[in-house]
Symmetry: C2
Subunit: 259 residues, 2 copies
């Protein structure tokens, strides 16, 4: 009963969130959802996310694993100036290259900070794996970088987003995923499962998913979503989902989630 | 430069989020942060989170991997009645046991639904891996379950939280992690990195992390956090962090993040 992957033709990606603060619950991650949406819009299929601690061996092993499995690996976190920012030296080790001063980045940071303020901690931010191509950071200057298929970004959401905006135009993408969403108030998943499974069988090129919702005002229902690369299959599945909701006695509502 | 794991004495855990809707960006995960906080409070060290699609082989392989690596594995998602809810048959395969009707759960659901409404889709929710111990679901009845060190919960946050509340008292926990947080307005990580690294070296039994913040009113600074199991080390590190902030000319503010 494996679900078919409907976007096999597109490049694949994984996201690696590096940071004790997510695993301790101190911080609510805000990067996964952003990257998921942006990668989908670029036609890059996000297949896996991992969140791991600021642990040298763990980071090296996970980068080595994920960069081999997927076309792109995007990392967030661990590239600042403090002792717990160890992502870059781990990326260098995983790629088998030296971790060394990147002269252009060093000059950029040296020109920005006064001599006194450009201390050893800040100079570490000018050390990149050999061969890395910097990703401009319009927020706080110290860059991210791409090396091979690994794209290394900051963990602070505003900086990560700015870096991704810099990076996105140069990424090899695919066909954008198209989707439809139908909302059926007062229905339950158990009541529509058989009909929805039949539609899924009729459109094997699409991914179909159902998501119960409960609004603050007490109204509930199920969202039925189809998505994939084939616009004509999507149109057919959308009609079929609409007809299923009508057949079950509810009023289908298309589009954004009900407030 | 590997960070020491300061909670080695405690049981470890991973969280596995199963769901295409997280990877497509349709849904913002709300379960990881909840579980991270609750596990920390129980003295269970969350070491890794993965988010993977509703894909049979992928789920089986990941459960097999994670349940061997950690003392506990908590899964969310994929236990509803629809065709894309395939977690339970995957757990059964990963554990090497049959996936079969669980008589007590079948009776519970049969008594709740009328005969007509207890259709094949809903009967699937009464199929558990052999040997599973149900986790009561006070929200929508269909249970989660534990089997060995794998704890299988719903993806809908309200239901997942209720299931975790049922599960938590029976989990083998450890010593709760204690932490302190100091906020230093107007400082930058690059300016305090050397002093903070020295404190980290003085307290190898603690994890020390720094987190820049930017308030909506434009004020910024850095949060300095120490955490671990040793209360007396924590008190010493807390004093040292406070003194560092003072030495750098800022006013330390303890406690919750500034609004």
């Amino acid at each position: 009963m494996s679900q078919p992957s409907t976007t096999d033709a597109n490049p694949t990606a994984s996201v690696l969130v590096i940071g004790n603060e997510i695993l301790s619950g101190r911080t609510q991650d805000a990067n996964i959802n952003f990257l998921a949406q942006r990668l989908g819009a670029l036609g890059i299929t996000l297949r896996e996310v991992r969140v791991i601690p600021d642990d040298h061996d763990f980071i090296v092993a996970t980068i080595t694993d994920l960069r081999a499995r997927y076309d792109h690996l995007f990392t967030t976190g661990g590239i600042g100036p403090t002792h717990d920012d160890i992502t870059s030296e781990c990326v260098a080790q995983a790629m088998g290259v030296p971790w060394e001063i990147h002269p252009e980045t060093f000059a950029l940071l040296e020109a920005y900070f006064t001599r006194e303020r450009f201390n050893a901690a800040r100079q570490r931010m000018a050390m990149l794996p050999r061969g890395a191509v910097p990703i401009r950071n319009p927020v706080s200057l110290a860059p991210g970088y791409s090396i091979g298929n690994v794209h290394v970004m900051a963990g602070v959401p505003a900086i990560m987003r700015a870096m991704f905006d810099e990076l996105a135009p140069g990424l090899r993408g695919g066909r954008p995923v198209v989707s439809c969403s139908w909302y059926a108030f007062d229905l339950f998943e158990g009541g529509l499962a058989a009909g929805f499974a039949a539609i899924a069988r009729d459109y094997p090129a699409l991914d179909l998913g159902s998501y119960p919702f409960h609004r603050p005002d007490g109204r509930h229902g199920v969202a039925l979503v189809a998505k994939g690369l084939d616009r004509s299959a999507l149109a057919g599945a959308s009609d079929a989902i609409r007809a299923l909701i009508v057949a079950l006695g509810a009023t289908p509502q298309e589009g954004e989630p009900p407030a």
